[in-house]
Symmetry: D2
Subunit: 328 residues, 4 copies
């Protein structure tokens, strides 16, 4: 598939696997400075993109680090077994990204706006997280052995608080002094297929301006002083991308007709952007989102899977089976 | 603007003004058997489409009757005055559609799924409606003079109840025996500009298969035995329409280039539909919606305006100013 | 324990086991015309009170019929196993109350106000009920074999709709024509211990004026034309009962002191009622409720258990384990 | 009214006016080291208790400072005019408690648990607060002239976050550096009459262990480094107080009968506490709350009044009339 529109409009993509597709689409070959791995599981495929060389950062539009994508279309199925499988894969991948001491202190942060369904994933996961920090020091050693000290916070968004989300988190990190921050966020994808079914883990934290609500400041080791693992799930596709990709596909279909050569060469963002703008007005490019009708229940399920995966990774003493006993 | 895609794909439009645009776009002239009027107000434009002749029904895809469209972009402004103005215009238009006796009994029905934000308009309006039926017979004559007996119900959707919405409403209508049913519903539009800012009133009731949730059975005088006025507001644009209209606009732009004549003639739904399907898969045409990020607050505001307009029309003794005293 | 206050103030109790306690407390012996049975299970005790003779109705303040009380304090524990056990006991008791044909059509009704946490049990159960009626006739025989046609409705309360709840249900029953109605409601108890942990089943339906919100009309075979099984859970204790029982207990403690004989004899409702009224003013007796701080999560858990029990009873093909797969 | 139970059980009261009543009840005279003033308004009475001397702190159980109580039973009326009047009185009293520079930076903190209706007042007020900090520096001087830089945060409760609320607030205060913190909280009262109708302002901040959810750490100038004004509204009465006051009143009624002298002297907490415990078991004293059925709508109204009062005090350029335009 051609990717004229996304490239020419400098749309930055939240998912590393999608950034890679775009770059590879352009060059037709593997990206230098990047390593790609694939693992196949029951109910999920895992793709790991490692941006290993500094010079690959600019090509990919992503900082050096590890990006793990779990593609799990069976999240959409109403199967408890599938959901447990995916939570376990998430726990395994999450554990592989950090090497936490036994009694480590972890802060889970839920980014996004709880009032807007497609942006509410982070706060929902926080609401389902098994929080232990306030009881941890009173618990007997045999319990603490298989658990970690976990706290959780949904800082809200700038429009609700008047405070940059990153400022709130910095303030709390300075007090709680966690060894690791796990930040959960709703993402934008270029593909409706990934909505609610793809989970991305990144040990580079949250990039500035990413996510459904275009969070402004980045959250990473540099800004917070502790490592940040980001867990994101696409919940929307920007409407501009739907419109742009439609144009790309039309052009793709007709481009091998010799009589169109001239026109095709002119079909760049100068032609496309006014069309897309006209369709979306009076909204600007980032304000309109494509989302499935059932987004409420998709987010509910995905949040359960993510909260389950986080708990399994942080509290190894708790089995998947037992886990749901801790959730109301 | 061309409307190739909507015409060729037999997409039925919830708004009569949009249906009219499509038909006029084809023929280039006013539609026989229809009358169109326009009124201009502070903060709103009102367009009335009257399908007066039986033969116009098929052309318009709408049954004989009156369709009033209030276009009020200032609903998006955070201005109390604008909202009161629009509620008053709605009340005036609503009153013009029926001739209710002084002590009439009216049932307000809120269609749609309260769990899915863009489909929740109807239930929200019901929650804000000033319900009086249970106190009406106990109230002294001087109070009842300027009020009517109003009841309100949100029947839910088929997936939540297992019962056709129309069946629930019929059962309740047989018990409550209202002289009029007002049915409020979230609609799909072809234009993002109309989301949350256009209000349509129709004295033909609710057409089968219309609305965001594709309600299956129609609600009208024939099915319920009493007149039904429908109040609808677009809250989404189907993603397929965004994709389709993008294609239409591209073709429009290049169609006067002579070297493209041949290609343009082949650019019909056979070319377009596979492209749109590919973009939207694995979802089918009706499952993906384009909606603004701020849809939650847009629906909140619109619901207040509609509930206000209904109360003003049904309870003439209550001024706009006082009205908000009755709402919690 | 003495029960001066409840008796002298003619407080009607929603739970038959509590009505029986009061009557027995008075007479000191088993109630004529009633049969009492007890069953003990893992995680629950079941008490069955059968009002078998007509003349016992007035003594008990309950119509002839079977009242099953499941006392399950372990609902408060965060144990999935306990919750499954209790759902299975509920399913067994529910199945014993009716003899439904294989393909029977059942309507589940959730009484109460979804806006008021302690009165929201019924609507919550409806939201968790596995609804099948709309798909039942399309399902292949091998699936329908172990399932029944279930529909579900939360009619709201009089203050929200302006329509008597019983009227809405009658209208829907006439349309849906179920063989059985199961009505779920939040109850008032005299004991805080029972809040969220006692489940009462009654094949006599819902008594007029019972429940947290004092639903006005009864729901039973006479009013609806089909059998009604009521499932109720206490979520509050009226504050007047707390005050009254406190007085009863004080009097109890001092009543064997000879010097108090005279005073004790005067300590009847004429002494008590003004004290209770003064404490509760400006509220009237039924408006103030005692409820635990954690009522939100207690109701959440109890609703899951009840929805699970209903589904097990109505859909025998679905195991407890599988059941949660059908719930989001 | 006697206050045996509260005194003897060392129940600490959130409201200074109630603490004063108890102390005065004991001594029968005005409290040394305290000053009391009364102001009467349309729709409200204002009582100001000033703990001026250090030695009065222990008698009152309240630190030195100013405690302003606004008693406004008409909050319960559905009158917009009354609500505006009360918001204006609150604004006036709030302004009198601090002397803020024109461009001051204020942080509004909403304490309590948003999942439990009676404890959700603080988060609700935060959700309705007109937040300006993120736009303040970009606004033209003529707008900033009559407004202040306001941010707002609902930190959650310990059980939800695993972090002491005070720690989160300290972290954010260090970042945002406000000149003033306004902390809003739901309180417990000894009188049902005050629920939802009394507003207390205190320039001493939040006492440790106060509020519906028994917040553990205090919030005041010492712990946060900036002045803290607390705004609290009773939303519950502990069930133990209802029981205890019932006993007090009974004893009061019989205490002038000479034959009861001996018994009365023994009727202290040793007699009362076991009775109250028996009534409330298995709950402990602080877990059961008395609250009116309509607490949801009472809190909704009170939150609007408080958010309105705060905005009027902080943004003098905004009139009451205009204020509601800023709220969705």
């Amino acid at each position: 598939m051609d990717t004229h529109f996304i490239k020419n409009n400098n749309i930055s993509l939240d998912l590393a696997v999608e950034a890679r597709e775009i770059v590879r689409g352009q060059t037709g070959q593997e990206i230098p400075g990047c390593i790609m791995e694939k693992e196949t599981y029951n109910n999920a495929t895992v793709t790991i993109v490692r941006v290993v060389e500094k010079y690959a950062e600019e090509i990919m539009g992503k900082p050096q680090g590890n990006y793990i994508t779990i593609d799990a279309p069976s999240i959409r199925d109403n199967s408890k077994q599938a959901h447990q499988d995916i939570a376990e894969i998430l726990a395994k991948q999450l554990s592989a990204l950090f090497n936490l001491p036994e009694h480590a202190n972890v802060l889970v942060v839920g980014l996004g706006n709880w009032n807007a369904t497609p942006d509410a994933l982070g706060p929902k996961v926080v609401g389902m997280t098994l929080v232990t920090r306030h009881m941890y020091n009173y618990a007997p050693e045999e319990i603490r052995g298989g658990m970690r000290s976990v706290s959780a916070l949904s800082p809200g968004v700038l429009g609700l608080t008047g405070i940059e989300t990153a400022e709130i988190i910095k303030g709390v990190v300075e007090r709680v002094k966690p060894e690791l921050v796990i930040a959960v966020d709703a993402l934008a994808s270029r593909s409706v297929e990934r909505i609610g079914t793809t989970i991305q883990l990144a040990d580079t934290g949250i990039a500035p301006g990413s996510g459904v609500g275009n969070k402004r400041t980045g959250l990473n080791k540099e800004t917070l002083g502790v490592p940040v693992i980001a867990i994101g799930v696409p919940t929307v596709v920007p409407a501009a991308i739907i419109a742009g990709e439609t144009l790309d596909r039309l052009v793709e279909q007709v481009k091998d007709k010799p009589e169109l050569q001239g026109i095709y060469q002119n079909m760049n963002s100068e032609t496309f952007q006014p069309i897309v703008n006209a369709i979306l007005q009076p909204y600007t490019s980032g304000q309109l989102m494509v989302t499935p009708k059932e987004i409420d229940s998709l987010i509910e399920t995905t949040a359960r899977v993510i909260a389950g995966g986080i708990s399994l990774a942080l509290h190894p003493a708790i089995s998947v089976e037992e886990y749901s006993q801790y959730l109301h």
